[in-house]
Amino acid sequence: MTVPLIQPTRKGLYCAAGDFHIDPWQPVPRALITHAHADHARSGHDQYWAARSGLGLLRRRLGKKAVIHGLEYGETLRFGPVTVSLHPAGHVLGSAQVRLEHEDEVWVASGDYKRDIDPTCAPFEPILCDTFITEATFALPVYRWPVVRDVARDIHQWWQKNASTNRTTVLFCYALGKAQRLLAELPLGRPGPIYLHGAIAPLTDDYRAAGIELPPTQPVSQAPADEDFSSSLVIAPPSAAGSTWMRRFRKPATGFASGWMRIRGNRRRRGYDRGFVISDHVDWPDLLKTITETGAKQVLTTHGRADELVRYLIEQGLSARPLATLYGDQDDDDGEVH
């Protein structure tokens, strides 16, 4: 092997054989986009390719003028000698792994992904490959996600308790993906209406437009004049915490839904009343399971705990090294909180 099929460059992950980039962070002629989070889908590229189910979200992020080509999962496309296809990553609506085939070699760049079932997006499909590029956001053995249904039940009970004492329930979470997943997971028998922060409402509409069924919601800005929010659930991005926007809620009970809430110190430091462990990233056991299922002999790591994961995989007899990327530095993508 002379030149690796994918290599990090100044502009992003680059496939020289097919002359395109994956989730580049500087303007390029051809960009394959794994999903619509800001650290992966940046504006300024000449042409975009992405999974069709996420086009609505991507269009909102990139604007009307962006040239975006939608691909069905599994549909193949040629970039010179390289055959490319997109496959579900299970991260958020329209998230995709990028499969590249060139001569006898198969690479998969997985973007961000998770293995837990998520009613708002297609489930991750393991793809056999020689080289697997994986995220390492939560690649430490302390990160093991609880059953999502149990977490949703906890949130629901917390909401019921708050509503019974006339306190507004304000749940902070990332605006794209987590918010909609939480909506979809909430059990029935809701104690009050659900309101969305202005940063979350349009993205939620995009989900509905893509055919995802979600419970009824209203933007906070369109609440009736006499609404006191005392039995409401309000979903807002973390940036709204402590802002003047919060003043409209009397005695709010606040919670944060994130994989980082797995750690007690994070829960306490962030100053929310409750922390709920729910993540759109892969946890430690699923990460190892996925690497095994891909059959990859070489693993390249991005985000977070890349170095630790590499060391561990090498000790397990795999070939592994970290890839330098700029992913994971955006607030709406489970960026490190401290």
């Binding site: 053995p141 302390v142 093991r144 750690i263 306490r268 409750r274």
Partner: protein, 529 residues
């Protein structure tokens, strides 16, 4: 264990103190007494002697999780708490551990304390099997108890409130019953709920009554000077001496028995009538008071030599009488207690000295007396309302301390960072906090004021009591109290506390104080002029 783990979770998640009190009270009312006793023990900040070190625990975790030790260490560093790391790493999705029905007392007494008599292999087997049996929250708690440090985030006062609520006893009675050293057993727990007083443990001290710093000139706020008993504010170790028929007990404000360090005072107290309890200040004294640094030589040792006692003789400056002829007299007014005090010291050993009263006919005259504080080796003046009872804690209004400059606060060490140059690799840059409800709020950094010996001691302590690391900064168990002196205090929106201190420096390492003695943010704000 299950019940206690549930309670812990509520306390950990709730931020409101009322909700915490209610949760604890419900637990106390419905729990088996022997389990309740241990719950009180841990919730009030008491701890077991550490039985197993972190190196062993990490190794056992690596062994049973089939993970390399370096990855366990990375995880520990990331999480910042070993018990939590263990609880999380061994967590299995859906793999519900069988519910353990055994209570907290059984766990502590049969599973933890018995580890003392075991060899390493038996300990390992016992601990690992417990880890595998328990669910994650219980596993966390169990390991916390094992490592000797359970920080629950409730103050002693909240525990007292909860027990008062659960038992129907006044909080002051509960506070008294929680003082001193006791066995966590059924009898103790039932004693907390007992209707009758007079069942109290004979050695037990009473809760100390504390003064608030006087912020405004007394003529503006305190009314007529005749209503006040005026004394010097001595700079020593606040202590309580409990004289019983068979023994004398000397207690510090940190609820430690310190008689071994002051056999001269124990001996002097034999001259008191049986069943007398006095409140006072231990001072180093030869003809007149010696500096606090002299007294410090008497602290922290198991044995005090005759030579040291000759060099640094100790006396008790007696402030108050709490019990007289076996009768609790704390509800009597100050003026009455003062008469008792003088009467009971008439024939007493001269090492027990009544605190002299200052005769000042006017506030102006008192102010002039105060100017002499430095020369007299005192910190200022105490003002106690003649009508004041001996209350619990630090209620405002009855007792004031009118200190001379500089301003000081008793603060707790929260973070430490290594210094540079000569102090490289030594933790010498400290961040201190005051209390704000149940939270600790950083209020100042200080770099000076300790001797080199103290710095090394503190450095050693910091390394052994680190809670979390943030790069070079360590957060430590909030246990070490320092008297911080500073020249002024101003509002500052840039600081989390909203306050900025001018020229803060460590006046003294207050080893005699515990975490309950940390001053509050409110007290700090009250110093704003």
């Amino acid at each position: 264990m299950q019940r206690f783990a549930q309670l812990f979770q509520i306390l950990d998640e709730q931020r409101g103190t009322n909700a915490k009190v209610i949760a604890m009270a419900e637990y106390f009312q419905s729990i088996q007494p022997k389990d309740g006793a241990w719950a009180v023990y841990f919730l009030s900040g008491r701890r077991l002697k550490r039985l197993i070190g972190p190196v062993q625990l990490r190794q056992w975790l690596a062994d049973i999780s089939d993970l390399p030790i370096w990855l366990i260490e990375e995880s520990h560093e990331h999480v910042g708490d070993l018990a939590e790391t263990i609880a999380l790493v061994l967590d299995r999705k859906g793999g519900q551990a069988t519910i353990d029905q055994r209570g907290l007392a059984t766990w502590v007494e049969e599973d933890i304390l018995t580890l003392r008599e075991m060899d390493e292999e038996q300990r390992r087997e016992r601990v690992v099997s417990a880890w595998q049996r328990l669910d994650a929250p219980s596993r966390f708690l169990y390991t916390k108890l094992l490592t000797g440090a359970l920080r629950v985030g409730v103050s002693q006062t909240l525990v007292e409130r909860a027990l008062a609520r659960a038992s129907g006893q006044p909080q002051a009675v509960i506070a008294h019953r929680l003082m001193g050293q006791w066995q966590a057993d059924t009898a103790f727990y039932q004693g907390l709920f007992d209707e009758r007083s007079g069942q109290e443990d004979a050695s037990r001290p009473y809760p100390f009554f504390l003064a608030n710093p006087l912020e405004n000139p007394p003529e503006q706020t305190l009314g007529a000077i005749d209503d006040w008993q005026l004394e010097w504010k001595w700079d020593g170790i606040r202590a309580q001496v409990v004289r019983r028929e068979r023994a004398v007990y000397l207690w510090s404000r940190g609820e430690a028995l310190i008689g071994e360090q002051f056999p001269d005072i124990l001996a002097a107290a034999q001259s008191l009538p049986v069943d007398t309890v006095l409140d006072g200040e231990i001072l180093a004294w030869s003809d007149q008071v010696m500096p606090f640094s002299a007294l410090q030589r008497r602290l922290g040792r198991k044995r005090v030599s005759q030579k040291l006692m000759d060099e640094v003789p100790a006396r008790l400056m007696v402030y108050d009488v709490l019990e007289r002829n076996g009768q609790d007299v704390r509800e009597q007014p100050m003026s009455t207690r003062r008469r008792y005090l003088e009467a009971c010291l008439v024939n007493a050993d001269p090492r027990l000295m009544p605190s002299a009263l200052i005769a000042a006919p006017t506030w102006q005259a008192l102010s002039e007396w105060r100017e002499q504080s430095r020369e007299r080796g005192v910190e200022g003046i105490m003002l106690k309302a003649n009508r004041s009872t001996y209350a619990t804690g630090r209620p405002r209004g009855a007792w004031w301390k009118w200190k001379i400059d500089p301003l000081t606060l008793d603060v707790v060490l929260l973070y430490a960072q290594p210094g540079h140059g000569r102090r490289a690799n030594l933790y010498t840059d400290y961040s201190f906090a005051v209390r704000d409800g149940d939270n600790l709020v950083p209020i100042a950094k200080a770099y000076s004021g300790l001797t080199d010996v103290e710095i090394r001691k503190l450095d050693h302590w910091i390394r052994r009591h680190t809670r979390e690391r943030f790069g070079p900064v360590r957060s430590v168990e909030p246990e070490q109290i320092f008297e911080l002196a500073f020249e002024g205090i101003t509002s500052s929106p840039r600081h989390k506390s909203g306050l900025a201190l001018r020229f803060p420096r460590i006046a003294r390492w207050r080893k005699d104080l515990g975490s309950n003695d940390v001053d509050t943010l409110e007290q700090a704000k009250a110093l704003l002029s």
